[in-house]
């Protein structure tokens, strides 16, 4: 490793936001011809560190050396001219422009789309990308958009490439394709940094891992010489068990019965097409699928937030009585005596109010209680205190606005409130998205506790490994259709992955 030249060297880089220290005296080397996985829990400062390299933030202290020379990166333009390119978690593309137009957007010099298209084709051939330069972005799938982002960076001559959680939105097959491209780029001598939470990806892709913990650089290891367990322990700072519990369901009974559900969104596009399934009490029903395949609409339809075109959703109580949920709003569903809890995907945009403090957020579900026109903040305050204590929420106090908490703590507040009402049905959408390992396991535990208490849990997830470990049954959605329902204990990742891309699964060539 010593023989390789460091493309980037960070020395004593520090960045603070107000009183929060995001990075503290970080020393990190990035080598050419190597894929470096940057590991760390949420809030450990990975993205901040990389944003300083790509010119989005400016370090408070420290030096950055590019190819051995000290440089000052003041803007993304500076970063590009030094050959540093970053692919962000949230794509920065103009929907109504074509791929080629997006790629040359903001570049100086004469506009020559033809030459640009040729150069793009050249880049694609060299590394094995598949992208049509003349297609509009809005016509593209998530993985195609990501390809455009990567090509955009390469087009600008980047030889230091940073990817922030690139696989969060990809299917296993797409991920493998991306990894092959990245390996090609590494073999071409480029330096690649990938930020990820997924251990198996680190193992299969990276040459070296560097670990950050609470803004500080902990150390690095050659991937081949280490294990997932060792890396996790290093990230967290103490050892953790990596197995998700899956207790056997006790006395499962049908609780939610969905029949022939068809949903169109506001634009008239079919988001759910003839979906039927049953969720049992005391079981976890996992929902797998590429994002945007109807998961959101399905949960919102059950929760009374999404009108449906056809079909029915019945709630079955302990005596076997059926009650129709469709066509009722959340208030009416609650009035029927159905305690349905919902942890939506958009935590701060739907489940919580970011600018309100913990007490006021606890009150969202209960503010109508009491006969007076005034709100009672006593009970919500107690609930907030209980949630903070029981779920170990890290917060300066219960009067802190929830948007100031980290992702994991926000989710604990939300889940804590939702399970406080002793639900019979618990709907969760991407419950651990963006959460670090510790927080994720807290959430898995809470969900399993609910399952053991006889709650029917619907768990929409994106990490197949987790879905396969936690679910009793897995329903796979593909383009709004039920691609299949499989047993979580007997199926495997490949089968589910195939079903995600094609109704019923099977090879594309079939």
């Amino acid at each position: 490793m010593d023989k390789k030249q460091a493309a980037v060297s960070l020395r004593n880089v520090t960045k603070t936001f107000g009183s929060v220290v995001a990075n503290s005296k970080v020393n990190l080397d990035i080598y050419k011809g190597e894929i470096l996985a940057l590991l760390g829990e949420n809030g450990s400062g990975k993205t901040t560190l990389m944003n300083m390299l790509s010119g989005i933030y400016f370090p408070d202290e420290g030096q950055i050396f590019i190819n051995g020379k000290e440089e000052v990166i003041r803007s993304p333009r500076d970063a590009y001219s030094l050959g540093i390119g970053m692919v962000h978690q949230h794509f920065k593309l103009v929907d109504v422009l074509t791929a080629a137009e997006n790629i040359i957007l903001g570049m100086e010099g004469k506009l020559n789309l033809k030459a640009a298209t040729a150069k793009i084709a050249d880049i694609c051939n060299r590394y094995g990308f598949e992208v049509d330069p003349n297609r509009k972005i809005y016509d593209m799938s998530v993985s195609e958009k990501q390809t455009v982002e990567i090509v955009k960076v390469l087009y600008r001559g980047a030889d230091i490439l940073i990817l922030d959680e690139p696989t969060a939105v990809l299917t296993p097959q797409e991920t493998e394709k991306l990894f092959n491209v990245l390996r090609n780029m590494r073999d071409d001598g480029k330096a690649i940094v990938i930020i990820t939470h997924k251990m198996h990806e680190v193992e299969s892709l990276s040459d070296r891992v560097a670990v950050l913990r609470r803004g500080e650089y902990v150390g690095d290891m050659i991937t081949a010489d280490t294990t997932a367990q060792e890396m996790t322990d290093m990230m967290v700072g103490h050892s953790v068990t990596l197995n998700i519990e899956r207790p056997d369901p006790v006395n499962p009974k049908p609780r939610i019965e969905v029949k022939n559900l068809t949903v169109r969104n506001e634009d008239g596009i079919v988001k759910l097409d003839d979906v039927s399934f049953t969720a049992n009490s005391g079981e976890i029903l996992g929902i797998a699928g590429i994002s945007g395949c109807g998961q959101k609409e399905l949960l919102e339809a059950i929760a009374g937030l999404q009108p449906a075109e056809a079909g029915s959703i019945s709630y079955i109580d302990d005596n076997g009585e059926h009650d129709e949920l469709l066509g009722k709003d959340p208030l009416k569903i609650a009035a029927m005596g159905v305690t349905l809890s919902f942890v939506p995907e958009d935590r701060l945009g739907m489940g919580l109010v970011g600018n309100m403090d913990l007490t006021d957020n606890m009150m969202l579900r209960s503010f109508r209680r009491g006969k007076t026109v005034f709100t009672d903040r006593k009970a919500p305050k107690h609930l907030a205190e209980d949630v903070v204590r029981d779920l170990e929420v890290v917060t300066p106090g219960i009067t802190t606005p929830v948007r100031r908490l980290s992702g994991g703590n926000v989710q604990k507040v939300l889940v804590g409130r939702e399970i406080a009402s002793a639900p019979t049905v618990l709907l969760t959408a991407y419950a651990v998205r963006g959460l670090d390992i510790n927080s994720s396991y807290t959430i898995y535990d809470l969900i399993n506790q609910q399952k053991k208490a006889g709650v029917a849990v619907v768990f929409v997830g994106e990490d197949l490994d987790v879905l396969l470990e936690i679910s009793d049954k897995i329903l796979v959605l593909c383009g709004g259709k039920v691609s299949g329902i499989v047993d979580g204990r007997t199926t495997d990742k490949n089968t589910v992955g195939m079903m995600m891309t094609r109704v019923g699964g099977g090879k594309l060539s079939d």
Partner: protein, 369 residues
């Protein structure tokens, strides 16, 4: 730093602050006002050759120079405060009601209509009750229309409320011609000057009524927004409609209800202007306060208690500015310039409350230490 070579660090960079202690925030605001006064003084000295200090003294005298002036200042403050409070629930809901002007006007027109049309048909008490009811209802209706369209078809409330202002102004213009006294004068004049029918009762003196109403509305609005279920719903809808729907709030109902309140309170301000203060109605009776109130409400961050101070500041500056233009024989625009400078500093200083600027030099000094 040892290497003095051409490493170009930017001169400064802007960093978002963490929460800033309240005392420091108020310090920044006080400093901003002080700086504004200094800049005003320089400009005054350069442009008019007058002594800036005597100008400031005149501003103060304009607002508090005599007992009458002081009362008028507080009366003006009350009206502006009521209109600002009226807009606040809508703003908290992120419903940009810039139709305060029209809602006040239409409330005033309704009051005037009662005074003119009902005089001689019923006794004074009945007329005043009719005025109260109709002016509040008229204002509420002016708030309801944009709210209904917003709730039903998601139309842009900023445009709708703004356009409603012109409709109100034109209606007042129409009825001014209809009811003009004497014929051909183009104005209504003092209504029921001899009988004083429909004149709101004086409490103590003729200024106190508006002040008492303002105190009641301020307290009420503070409690309503902070402690009532409605106030909580307004806050949630304003922050995130999705969250509101998620917990089963009827977003459309909340929007319409809040705008009825907002418009109704503006109508009340119109009633006070027509029935209590001016005893007539003109197209300019609201005097742009429906727009000034937007600024008052924002400056106070939608807190009814802070709004007392922000509306005081605006009224104080306005009345002082009026005084200097007459006293020093200056153009009225000059006082507007001073008001503008002061407001610029007050609003601009909010930037420094949320962000701080790190200079290159100070960074290096820290490193050397």
């Amino acid at each position: 730093m040892t290497n003095q070579d051409k490493v170009k660090e930017p001169l400064f960079h802007i960093v978002k602050r963490d929460a800033i202690p309240a005392r420091k925030a108020w310090g920044i605001r006080a400093l901003a006002i002080l700086l504004a006064l200094v800049v005003c003084a320089i400009i005054t000295a350069v442009l008019t050759k007058d002594n800036p200090l005597s100008i400031y003294a005149t501003i103060f005298k304009g607002a508090f120079g005599s007992a009458r002036k002081t009362w008028v200042t507080f009366q003006d403050l009350s009206i502006l405060l009521i209109i600002s409070l009226a807009l606040t629930p809508a703003f908290k809901m992120k419903f940009w009601n810039i139709g305060g002007e029209g809602q006040v006007l239409i409330g005033g027109l309704a009051a005037a209509a009662c005074m003119i049309q009902l005089a001689g048909k019923m006794n004074n008490v009945m007329i005043i009750i009719c005025m109260i009811v109709t002016s509040i209802l008229a204002g509420a209706f002016w708030g309801f229309v944009p709210a209904f369209f917003k709730a039903k078809w998601n139309t842009n409330e900023t445009l709708a409320t703004l356009m409603m202002n012109y409709i109100a102004t034109q209606l007042v213009a129409f009825y001014t011609v209809r009811w003009e006294v004497p014929k051909g004068s183009g104005k209504i004049g003092i209504i029921n000057q001899s009988s004083e029918l429909g004149w709101l009762p004086q409490i103590g003196n003729k200024y106190l009524l508006s002040i008492i109403v303002a105190v009641i509305v301020t307290t009420g609005m503070y409690i309503y927004l902070n402690y009532s279920k409605h106030g909580y719903e307004i806050a949630v809808v304003g922050e995130s409609e999705n969250t509101a729907r998620y917990v089963g709030m009827k977003v459309k109902k909340v929007i319409i209800r809040t705008m009825l309140l907002s418009g109704g309170l503006c109508g009340l301000a119109g009633l006070l202007l027509v029935g209590g203060i001016n005893h007539t109605v003109t197209t300019t009776i609201a005097g742009g306060q429906g727009f000034t109130a937007v600024m008052v409400s924002w400056l106070a961050k939608f807190n009814p208690l802070t709004m007392v101070f922000t509306s005081f500041l605006i009224v104080f500056l306005g009345r002082g500015a009026g005084e200097i233009s007459t006293r020093f024989g200056l153009n009225h625009s000059f006082s507007d310039i001073l008001t503008g400078i002061i407001l610029f500093f007050i609003i601009g200083c909010e930037f420094f409350i949320y962000y701080k600027i790190n200079f290159r030099k100070s960074n290096k000094k820290e490193e050397e230490k």
